[in-house]
């Protein structure tokens, strides 16, 4: 179902063609990084720390080097160290530990050998002498003075006075507006709670993989799975101390990323091993390594207090957020602060956030990073207000809904946004208008995510037969090739399957930022449109030459040149490209840009659940999500992003968590014990695409990739409360916790 407002009549945009890369993917031909085999290729293996926190006293690689098949062994001593203020320094120290290991799974050495088994056996033969150090795994404990310290050089920034002692708190962020005391004084209802979440993993099905082939000329070629091969290039260069021109990165198909493949783990190790061995080196992580050593999303402790008047107007919000960033600081608490009350107009608020390092894997972005935990707190409490006031939860949200021109909590005024339209779409949906089945509970929640613009490049070449090749630098992580082709088809007026969308390597297309922040269709699409518009100008010029008339007499519409005076028969694009050699040469255009004005994304969702009161198992009986896509270029893949985001949120809410033992060793590093949702856990995910076009994009696109994961946690928590009376404020809402909440009568009475 799609709700479209005043949509212009597009011919291709908004249709659902079969994706261009689909055939290769259904016949098993698509090439992912682990599928590449080069002649003479070696296999790399990483030795990882068994300790959560330890000093590396010595590493003896001699036994490993003497083993059969071993061609190269590297350790942290083989890599230079970046200056303390270099933004990539922590990345390089995550890829290979230097003086200390900071989490179980931290890389300490790597081996390249003829076979996988030889590489693994040799890695295990490396003798590392550790001096175990006390570790800290809990956010609140890590914040305490006297907690085991991960880094001697972290002094909390953002405090009122400069701290004299280092700590595990990297920074404090604060946003405030109005008079919070006055705001709470005006409130008739005040609700508050503490919400706790665990780290969870992005859970892409394809483990990290790469092949590096370093030549005697000091250059290297890397094939890898990443969300952005230009960042692979720059980060690899930073780790190795190389100039980027020595590195070519060829993007393989990527088997899921969700933010987790916006940074690197293996590539510089493979390059260095390949350089030493003089042979190509393939490195593929096991699932165990993916869990132990790649970025989960932060665990968090969030305390929120909200006040509202008797008629439902939210007058004050106070929020305290602590996010654990793993072994090195990130930006997670800052992002959480910027999202925590953003779906609401609140005049008086005080939001403060703390970024805390702990002895766990370094966090990476995960789909709308930091927003779901914050929404869990706020949207659960908003539900409590609705119950206290006996108000419909959608009406309450509509009453407090920000509009264009209102000031967002993080500073700027909102541009044109579609939150109200999403709320109305859910309110008017068949799902929301129907009553929940007997015994089922219903919950709603809303979510916000910024979306990002950034740099993109596209080259569009017209072929002599009237087809086009569209080359971009954005890896296709979920159907973006089809979106690029649709926008090019719309511009050029040729069939979408006459367009071949290609993801170009770092040497064939201009710089393009990582596919993150829901930016590919928005920003890279903008570059495609710009290049096509350049081409349309060129096509008019060529037609003028063929007609021997002034270019002003040529118009371009529906894929053909027409003469304004009607003196010539229209020329189709293929007529012009066929003559291109004689009218000035091949037709091609390139556009590179910094995309501005990524429209903020909102989603509103409703779910019905049943709860087995004997086991505590929650079953999602029905789920509907409405999301503002601006304009859906390929509605199938917009729906796919919405559904995928929702189901990841369901997994986060109900099942998923990192479990560490007291020594900081992960106890569930596999899909058997870290259980992500499977088909039999779920109903169909009903989608309502709301389209409030983004005025900053030629087709009105807003990023759709991320915001869908924000509402599910509070929506399910609210539904479980509706079904059982129990308010659960800690994730996951797994059967034992739900059962415990039911048994202890953990309701709020609201």
């Amino acid at each position: 179902m799609t709700i479209t407002e005043q949509r212009p009549g597009y011919r291709y945009v908004g249709t659902r063609p079969v994706r261009h890369d689909g055939l290769d993917k259904v016949v098993g031909k698509a090439r992912y990084a682990a599928d590449l085999v080069l002649p003479g290729m070696l296999y790399g293996h990483v030795l990882r720390s068994p300790h959560a926190h330890a000093r590396i006293v010595a590493i003896d690689t001699s036994a490993a080097e003497a083993m059969p098949g071993v061609r190269a062994v590297i350790t942290g001593a083989d890599f230079g160290d970046l200056p303390a203020d270099d933004p990539e320094r922590n990345m390089t120290r995550n890829l290979m530990a230097r003086d200390k290991v900071l989490y179980e799974g931290h890389a300490v050495a790597a081996v390249a050998a003829t076979t996988r088994r030889q590489a693994r056996d040799a890695a295990e033969a490396i003798e590392v002498t550790y001096e175990a150090l006390p570790h800290t795994l809990d956010i609140l404990e890590a914040m305490e003075p006297g907690a085991p310290l991960l880094h001697e050089d972290i002094f909390t920034t953002g405090l009122d006075s400069e701290p004299s002692e280092p700590s595990n708190v990297a920074n404090r962020t604060c946003y405030e507006r109005g008079d919070i005391e006055q705001g709470f004084a005006e409130a008739d209802v005040v609700v508050e709670g503490e919400f706790v979440t665990k780290p969870i993993h992005q859970g892409y099905i394809e483990p990290h993989a790469c092949v590096a082939d370093t030549g005697q000329d000091g250059k290297t070629v890397i094939w890898c799975s990443s969300q952005g091969h230009f960042r692979v290039r720059s980060q690899t260069a930073a780790m190795l101390g190389w100039d980027t021109s020595r590195i070519k990165v060829i993007p393989a198909e990527i088997g899921g990323g969700f933010g987790g493949k916006t940074t690197i783990y293996l590539e510089p190790l493979a390059v260095e091993l390949s350089a030493r061995a003089g042979r190509p080196v393939k490195m593929v992580m096991s699932r165990d390594e993916v869990f132990r050593a790649t970025g989960p999303t932060p665990g968090s402790v969030i305390r929120v207090k909200l006040g509202a008047t008797g008629d439902g107007r939210i007058t004050a919000a106070k929020a305290w957020l602590a996010y654990e960033s793993g072994a090195f600081p990130g930006v997670w608490a800052m992002l959480g602060c910027m999202c925590v009350v953003s779906p609401y107009n609140v005049e008086n608020f005080l939001i403060e956030g703390y970024e805390v390092v702990v002895n766990k894997p370094v966090n990476a972005a995960y789909r709308a990073p930091s927003a779901p935990m914050a929404a869990f707190a706020t949207d659960t409490l908003v539900d409590e207000i609705a119950r206290r006031l006996d108000m419909d939860p959608i009406d309450l949200r509509l009453l407090n809904c920000p509009n264009k021109g209102d000031q967002a909590p993080y500073g700027p005024k909102w541009p044109l946004i579609g939150l109200r339209e999403c709320l109305e779409a859910i309110r008017d949906s068949e799902h929301y208008r129907s009553r929940p089945a007997p015994g089922h509970g219903r919950g709603v929640a809303s979510g916000f995510w910024f979306n990002i613009g950034e740099a993109s490049s596209a080259t569009v070449n017209l072929n002599e037969n009237g087809t086009a090749t569209v080359v971009t630098g954005s890896p296709d992580i979920g159907g973006s090739r089809a979106s690029m082709a649709l926008m090019a088809a719309e511009e050029l007026g040729i069939d979408v399957h006459a367009i071949q969308p290609v993801v170009g390597d770092t040497e064939v297309v201009g710089f393009t930022d990582v596919t993150e922040g829901s930016r590919a269709t928005f920003a890279t699409g903008m570059a495609v449109v710009e290049a096509c518009r350049d081409l349309k100008g060129q096509l008019r010029g060529r037609a003028a030459r063929m007609w021997d008339c002034d270019v002003d007499e040529v118009e371009w519409a529906d894929g053909q040149a027409t003469h304004s005076g009607g003196e010539h028969e229209p020329l189709a694009l293929a007529d012009i490209t066929a003559e291109a050699g004689r009218t000035g040469g091949p037709l091609g255009a390139t556009a590179s840009l910094n995309a501005r004005g990524a429209g903020p994304a909102f989603s509103v969702q409703v779910t019905d659940v049943s709860v087995d009161e004997e086991t505590g198992r929650v079953t999602v009986e029905r789920y509907t999500t409405a999301q503002d896509a601006g304009t859906a270029i390929h509605p199938d893949y917009v729906e796919g992003q919405m559904q995928g985001g929702v189901v990841q949120g369901i997994g986060w809410a109900l099942n998923e968590e990192y479990i560490h033992d007291a020594d900081g060793v992960m106890e569930n590093p596999g899909f058997l014990d870290y259980r992500i949702p499977v088909a039999s856990d779920l109903p169909m995910i009903e989608t309502i695409i709301v389209e409030v076009p983004n005025p900053n994009h030629p087709y009105g696109v807003r990023g759709v990739g991320e915001v869908g994961i924000v509402p599910p946690i509070p929506a399910l928590a609210n539904a479980i409360h509706d079904a059982t009376g129990a308010r659960i404020r800690e994730l996951p809402m797994s059967p034992p916790r739900v059962l415990d909440a039911i048994m202890s009568g953990n309701g709020d009475g609201g």
């Binding site: 079969v18 994706r19 394809e206 949702p677």
Partner: protein, 161 residues
């Protein structure tokens, strides 16, 4: 270390290969036969990305020792299509946008084929349970389940037609 000789039929071809005793069939398919359609997502039988049909049974090839394949008949994703004619499941996956990143897709297609081979008219619930051993992180399964049901309908029409 001497290697084990294995003869089997893969996707209609009689093939022979050498493997290590402890090698998984998945590694043998990929490393020895260069059939890269089956993927390793976990190596522990939890994700289904390496699904194959071996002697009529759906298997995670990462849990099968390669020498066990001696004498077996194996179907991988590369063998589902009939020449240049896609299997209805493949066609319906394309038309129904049942894939995003595509890395789990070979496993889903093989598992869905195994289901339709024994149950040509599954209910939605039967589809969901038959595919519960295959993990997809991108789609939320909605379009996969719909596409399998659509393929079942199409195959029924083809039989009737």
């Amino acid at each position: 270390m001497s290697r084990t000789h294995v003869s089997c039929n893969i996707n209609g071809d009689d093939v022979e290969f050498l493997c290590d005793a402890g090698e998984s069939l998945l590694d043998a398919l990929r490393d020895e036969m260069r059939l890269m359609g089956a993927k390793e997502g976990c190596g522990t039988g939890d994700c289904g990305a390496c699904s194959i049909i071996m002697d009529g049974r759906l298997q995670c090839s990462c849990l099968v020792f390669a020498p066990e394949a001696d004498g077996a008949t194996i179907v991988t994703v590369e063998g589902i299509a009939d020449g240049d004619h896609l299997h209805p499941l493949q066609q319906c996956f394309l038309e129904g946008a049942a894939l995003q990143c595509g890395v789990c897709t070979p496993g889903f297609l093989v598992a869905a084929k195994a289901l339709l081979d024994r149950n040509p008219e599954p209910t939605e619930t039967e589809v969901r349970y038959a595919l519960a051993g295959n993990l997809c992180r991108c789609t939320g399964y909605d379009k996969i389940v719909r596409s399998v049901l659509a393929a079942a309908d199409r195959m029924k029409e083809e039989v009737a037609g």
